[in-house]
Amino acid sequence: MSTGTPGDDRPDRGPVELSAEATVLRMLLGAQLRRLREAADISAEKAGYEIRASRSKISRIETGRVGLKIRDVEDLLTLYGMTEPQERSRVLDLARQSSTPDWWTKYGDLLPGWFESYLGLESAAETIRSFQVQFIPGLFQTEEYARAVTCLGHQAAPAEEIERRVTLRLLRQELLSRPAPPRVWMIMDEAVLRRPYGGPGVMRAQLRHLLEVAQLPHVTLQVVPFSHGGHAAASGSFSILRFAERDLPDIVYIEQLTSAVYLDQRPDVEHYLEVVHRLSGEALTPAATTRFIEQVADET
């Protein structure tokens, strides 16, 4: 991620690389707070009451999806019985470091909060595993395909807003070319390749772009062809984000029309992990996928 990114008005902070880091720090902070809360045997409701927040806010804090004020961290630590000054200041330092602004802040007006959280997690992830049934994944979309999809989703939006949304999507893709990119492992239903958003010309270019992306060493693409019949993920699209830190759990992200679901409880996550394992076992190998996409491109 390079130019034109926010954070420019904070001269002592490096630009964008920090945002990924901030997300991980928030997650680490959240994981620590959860451990402390559970060790103290305090419910999320009670913890929420302490800082005038809901139970679900506590859950978002503990999964690092939102930051929190230093004063709230102090109150929680006291509630959890952490009184030792040195240990307290370690957690509080972490809380301070984790409040760096994110690169997408200037697109905040376009982004619902639930999707901002995803951008943070995505840029912090070490591995992104995802199953898509409808659209080419955002990270792999061409500008024209992104525009076609965006216009469908925001039919009443003025042209300028559409362009900013498209720009935002393309900025996201810089993730793939940064120095230590995440491993991106995408499994797509054949429908993704067949539905020609933007028309056959746009779709052909999109498929060719997909073939180029598939050559990247950190990208793995697999397709589940129609001929395979049913597959393990009857549910629909989802992503599993994995982080390098051993302490951090995988997070499952499921997008809905007006919100998103984040799962980080082990039994839920493991259910999706099992499904993604089955899916990639059922899907075409990466080599066969390349041949398959070439064939679909010829037919489009």
């Binding site: 994995r242 051993r246 082990r266 993604v276 990639s280 076992g281 066969a288």
Partner: protein, 283 residues
């Protein structure tokens, strides 16, 4: 290797005697060895049952994490030795496990990029990762076969599409044969594999040693394995392992605990593994 579900193909039985050749189901309610290793190596592709089995195992054998790490390090050193010093350019790696850092093809192709590597595993968790991630480097070639070690005929036939059996091949069976009980004829399996490759080929084995544990530990571990782990586990003594290496000359220092096999200069061992390891050169 194309095939989605090749398991129902003709797949001739490996050995005549009651060998079980159908792949294990993708069952996360019981631990399995691949995921247990993943967990112990710091991976996250494991499930509650795997972690529970590790916890129970650690009660009896606290050296397990060291053993698993040592086995991984042994793999690295042995592949490096075979590629850099013995001139091997073809590997048949059976019992691949869930890919992690330093897989056979990465080590070997890092030294000699033209090296060909065929991976074989029958575990469905491994299948998902291996098909997607153990991909070819530019000049060498890497393939994955979804097959059970008992099915030597199929393994050799499919591996033959990439490997040239007129030139030496290193066959690596790491932490694998202790999941093959006597009834499945492990000695016949190894003999069949060695038969297919020419003199100058290598056989590499690491194997849980019944004589590296005391009797009480051994019995308790077998209890844990029976109760909690899908794979049948059969520890063997050093003496029982020797016949695997019939028709080969063991590379110095012979059959030793894995961490003692040609350790890196200056390496200090911090524990004692429970795995025997060795490499033999076919006569």
């Amino acid at each position: 290797m194309k095939g989605i579900t090749m398991s129902t193909d003709e797949a001739p039985p490996a050995s005549s005697g009651g060998g079980r050749t159908e792949p294990p189901a993708f069952d996360t309610s019981r631990a399995n060895q691949a995921r247990v290793y993943d967990y112990l190596l710091g991976g996250k592709d494991n499930f509650a049952a795997d972690r529970a089995a590790v916890d129970a195992w650690l009660e009896v054998d606290p050296e397990l994490p060291f053993t698993v790490r040592s086995n991984r390090a042994f793999l690295g050193r042995v592949v490096r030795y075979l590629t850099a010093e013995a001139g091997i350019r073809q590997f048949l790696d059976i019992g691949t496990g869930i890919p992690t850092a330093g897989n056979t093809h990465q080590v070997a192709q890092g030294i000699a990029p033209e090296t060909r590597v065929v991976y074989v595993d029958y575990d469905p968790t491994v299948l998902a990762h291996a098909r997607a991630l153990l991909t070819s480097s530019q000049s060498g070639a890497t393939e994955y076969i979804d097959a059970d070690v008992r099915d030597t005929e199929r393994i050799l036939e499919q591996a033959g599409q990439l490997l040239d059996y007129t030139k030496p091949v290193a066959i690596t069976l790491l932490a694998l044969l202790h999941a093959v009980p006597e009834t499945d004829k492990p000695y016949d399996i190894v003999a069949a594999l060695l038969d297919a490759v020419p003199p100058g080929s290598y056989l590499v084995i690491s194997h849980a040693g019944s004589d590296l544990l005391d009797a009480g530990q051994h019995d308790s571990l077998m209890g844990v394995a029976d109760r909690m782990i899908q794979n049948k586990i059969a520890y063997r003594s050093r003496e029982q392992l020797a016949p695997f290496f019939d028709r080969t000359d063991l590379v110095s220092p012979g059959l030793v605990r894995v961490e003692e096999w040609r350790p890196d200069p200056g390496a200090v061992s911090t524990g004692r593994s429970t795995l025997w390891g060795g490499a033999g050169r076919k006569r």
